[in-house]
């Protein structure tokens, strides 16, 4: 039993609380549509999807860790290092392409190897050493960012490699290539987590660890796998981060972290069972992206967006926390 703070009973009506997040989002989107007529056009919608990709892919990684570890953010599963892993992998790929003349395949392979190794380090710290995931991944994220600074000397690296350019600008049947690839990743993750035997067991491990052990599941193996997979998604996200930024930029990890956490927990607030899901994380990422672009299109100062997103995290999780506690 974890020692989460139990202070008192909620007073807000649960039905109201469960509708609040969605209502806020629909109202905001409607407002953008009215204020900025171009907002609901296909070009903008495609842009929203494209901008959502890195967050969505990171969110997939986080969602799998949360599903395997349980949604108590302190005692349960959380991986705050996925964005740092993406930044590290992106730094390695960019450095290889720009400074070492490596082929795209070599560069990507090295970046991915680093991402998997980083995921393995997290897995080791959590399952072998026994650190809480929050502490472990908070600590490793500083180390991964530190390493990425060593790789790039903390400078921006511009890339014009065909791989990155294709991922950024290419299309398949009129849809951006990035969106198609990301959709494939989402489908794989969804099937693995929500439609397969392995996924059901993963959910059981996170839902009630004792129940999983009684069912004969090797809990630590699932936890370790979840961190490895999160590392892999961090590696995958690095390509999209490079494509979105046309190269590697220092200091993007913090923004990515906020958007990843926001998207994933937003998704839980929308899910019927009020748990973190693969689809929820993706939907959350798209909504966050829509908001960023929406606020831009109605002329809100870019400095305010952090404020607004932080406020949204709070409103959504407060509403969801109240709804969840009212149910039980």
């Amino acid at each position: 039993m974890s020692t989460t703070l139990a202070i008192g009973r909620p007073q807000l009506n649960s039905a109201l609380a469960s509708v609040v997040p969605l209502a806020i989002f629909l109202a905001l989107l409607g407002y953008f549509g009215l204020r900025a007529p171009g907002f609901l056009e296909p070009a903008t919608l495609i842009l929203i999807l494209k901008q959502a990709i890195p967050t969505a892919v990171l969110g997939l990684g986080l969602a799998i860790v949360v599903i395997a570890g349980g949604d108590d953010v302190v005692a349960g599963g959380i991986d705050l290092s996925v964005p740092s892993i993406a930044v590290l992998s992106a730094a390695i790929i960019a450095d290889q392409l720009a400074s070492h003349g490596s082929s795209a395949a070599t560069a990507v392979a090295l970046g991915f190897a680093a991402a998997i190794a980083a995921g393995a380090a997290n897995a080791l710290l959590v399952t072998r050493v026994g650190m809480t995931p929050l502490l472990a991944t908070l600590a490793t994220s500083t180390a991964y960012i530190g390493l990425s600074k060593v790789v790039t000397a903390n400078r921006r690296i511009d890339l014009a490699d065909p791989l990155i350019v294709t991922l950024r600008d290419g299309t398949v049947l009129g849809l951006p290539l990035g969106v198609v690839v990301a959709t494939g990743l989402v489908a794989i993750a969804h099937i693995a987590v929500h439609r397969s035997r392995w996924g059901l067991r993963l959910q059981a491990v996170g839902g009630n660890r004792d129940a999983a052990e009684i069912a004969g599941l090797k809990v630590h193996r699932f936890l370790a796998q979840s961190f490895l997979i999160a590392g892999a998604f961090g590696g995958a996200a690095s390509l999209f981060v490079l494509a979105r930024g046309s190269g590697s930029t220092p200091g993007v990890a913090e923004t990515l972290l906020m958007e990843m956490v926001l998207a994933t927990f937003l998704g839980a607030a929308f899910s019927p069972r009020r748990v973190v899901t693969v689809w929820g994380a993706v939907l959350g990422a798209i909504l966050v992206s829509a908001l960023s672009i929406g606020f831009g299109s109605v002329g809100v100062d870019v400095f305010w967006t952090g404020c607004i997103k932080g406020g949204l995290i709070l409103i959504v999780v407060a509403a969801s926390a109240l709804a969840k506690r009212n149910r039980t």
Partner: protein, 520 residues
């Protein structure tokens, strides 16, 4: 301790058959304790075999040896004549021995079908076969456990009894179970839910499955079991064969090893001034229009099934919950609702039903727990006077006979009965004038029960107002001056032990249904 209705045929077709499962002369020692000292057990196919004993008698160690969690120092386990590798959970599982643990351990957001098939999912080329698992789960629940639960429902939406049945189905779904061990299966269940569970257990017995039934509730043991083994200090002290509904007293004396005399103390208190008054207290849908008055020096009981609103009413009085309307007044002063701190300021001490999670800070030591609610009395200028704190805790441990005597022992290491005494000591230390005791003897063995009853009597004799909420009607009748009966959120009757017997109280709590069977 007698069942209201004679039990259905405990003498059964299994009489005289050979034992199917045999635990032979099992010994198991831990540093400082010999938990099992040549204990044994023989269970026949189709038999429900009760295992009773006080806390520390070795019941749970014996079960853990059977489960393969502990490897015994000596002795062997035979199933159908063949020896099982003791100390290997996998071998035990493969041999078809299944455990229904006290804790439900289910995933709240899983469906019934997902829960039952976890670990042995039906899977095809297109992933999980959700529909097939749902149908198979429903058919299994119907055929084997004689129960109807839709496979797509979420665990979170099921009642406790349904969850228990799903837990049982989970253990048996592979069809290989030959022995099933039940550990306190009825603890959270209401009267009618227990009936439902017993039907399922009977259905299993008719299929020839050997069952071990561990419980503190002797009335259940005498009702459902064919034979009962009694353990004390790690040894067998008796085998009652066959067991009948009037064997409870015999079981108690075997368990305790002496005649404990009367479990309930002599009444020695007298009601004086009105102290706690509830006026039209309501919290729909849980309870409504509750009026209640408790005087100083009076023990008032609250009876009601799980789901009758009893738990919510107690939570409201103690400040854990909040009423939607109505008033709570203590000693003429209205109590601000929804605050345990405000309740404590009014002199209320709460002994909660969930001792492990709510009763004590388990990681803290006994002294800190006793002083926790009244630190100001052992401090100067906000700083704890450590010797004063220890002395006071020691005095209170001495007075209540809390064991071990060293107050620096971590609270989690104490037995259930001693933990309960620490909770009471904490309330006493605050000088509380109003005690609200919720299931005060749940999970406590017979010897400690008697001590806790004596303490409660002592509280009233010293002039405290006492409210006892319990699912055990015998306890209420033995202890209280008056008993209020809550049915579907309303107080339907107020009775006194002098004019009410067990049958009538059980009938009242079940809302006038004829009393069939026992009360947990």
């Amino acid at each position: 301790m007698t069942a209201p209705v004679p039990p259905p045929t405990p003498v059964s077709p299994i009489a005289g058959a050979a034992d199917f499962l045999v635990l032979e002369a099992i010994s198991k020692g831990f540093p400082g304790v010999q938990a099992l000292d040549g204990a044994g057990l023989g269970v026949r196919a189709g038999e429900i075999h009760g295992v009773v004993g006080e806390n520390g008698a070795g019941k749970s160690t014996l079960i853990k040896v059977l489960a393969g969690i502990y490897r015994p120092d000596a002795g062997r386990i035979l199933l159908d004549g063949a020896e099982i590798d003791a100390g290997s959970p996998d071998a035990v599982q493969a041999a078809g021995i299944r455990f229904i643990h006290q804790e439900l351990n289910l995933v709240p957001h899983f469906t019934v079908a997902e829960t039952i098939f976890l670990g042995q999912e039906l899977s095809g080329p297109f992933g999980l076969r959700t529909g097939a698992m749902r149908r198979a789960a429903e058919a299994f629940l119907k055929d084997t456990l004689d129960t109807d639960i839709a496979g797509h429902r979420l665990i979170a939406d099921l009642g406790i009894a349904e969850r228990k049945l799903v837990q049982i189905a989970r253990a048996l779904i592979d069809g290989k179970a030959r022995v099933v061990v039940f550990d306190e299966p009825t603890a959270p269940l209401s009267h009618t839910e227990i009936e439902h569970l017993f039907r399922a257990i009977d259905a299993l017995a008719r299929r020839g499955i050997a069952m071990i039934y561990v419980s503190h509730y002797l009335s259940e043991i005498t009702r459902i079991c064919h034979r009962v083994s009694v353990l004390r200090n790690g040894r067998n002290v008796g085998l009652v064969d066959p067991v009948g509904h009037d064997d409870a007293d015999r079981l108690i004396s075997l368990m305790v090893g002496r005649d404990i005399g009367d479990l309930y103390p002599k009444r020695n208190h007298a009601a004086t001034t009105p102290w706690l008054t509830l006026t039209a207290l309501s919290q729909p849908p849980h309870y409504a229009d509750v009026d209640l008055e408790i005087r100083r020096g009076e023990i008032v009981g609250l009876a009601g099934l799980v789901g009758s609103g009893r738990e919510e009413l107690v939570d409201t009085i103690t400040g854990l919950g909040r009423p939607t309307s109505g008033r709570i007044v203590v000693d003429g002063r209205p109590l601000r609702s929804g605050s345990t701190a405000a309740a404590a300021d009014h002199g209320l001490a709460h002994v909660p039903r969930d001792r492990r999670n709510d009763g004590l800070v388990l990681a803290m030591n006994v002294a800190d727990n006793i002083n926790l609610a009244s630190l100001e009395a052992v401090s100067t200028g906000g700083f704890v006077r450590r010797s004063a704190a220890t002395t006071r805790a020691e005095q209170s441990a001495e007075a209540l006979d809390i064991r071990p005597k060293t107050v620096t022992t971590a609270a989690r290491l104490l037995s259930g009965g001693n933990q309960q005494k620490v909770v009471l000591a904490r309330g006493l230390a605050t000088g509380a004038s109003l005690f609200v005791l919720d299931e005060p003897t749940i999970g406590v063995d017979v010897g400690a029960k008697a001590e806790i009853y004596a303490l409660i009597e002592h509280l009233a004799a010293e002039g405290a107002a006492v409210l006892v909420s319990s699912s055990d009607p015998t306890e209420l009748l033995g202890l209280c001056d008056r008993i209020l009966v809550l049915v579907r959120g309303r107080i339907v009757a107020e009775v006194t032990p002098a004019t009410t017997d067990l049958d009538r109280l059980v009938a009242l709590t079940t809302g006038g249904e004829p009393a069939g069977g026992l009360a947990a």
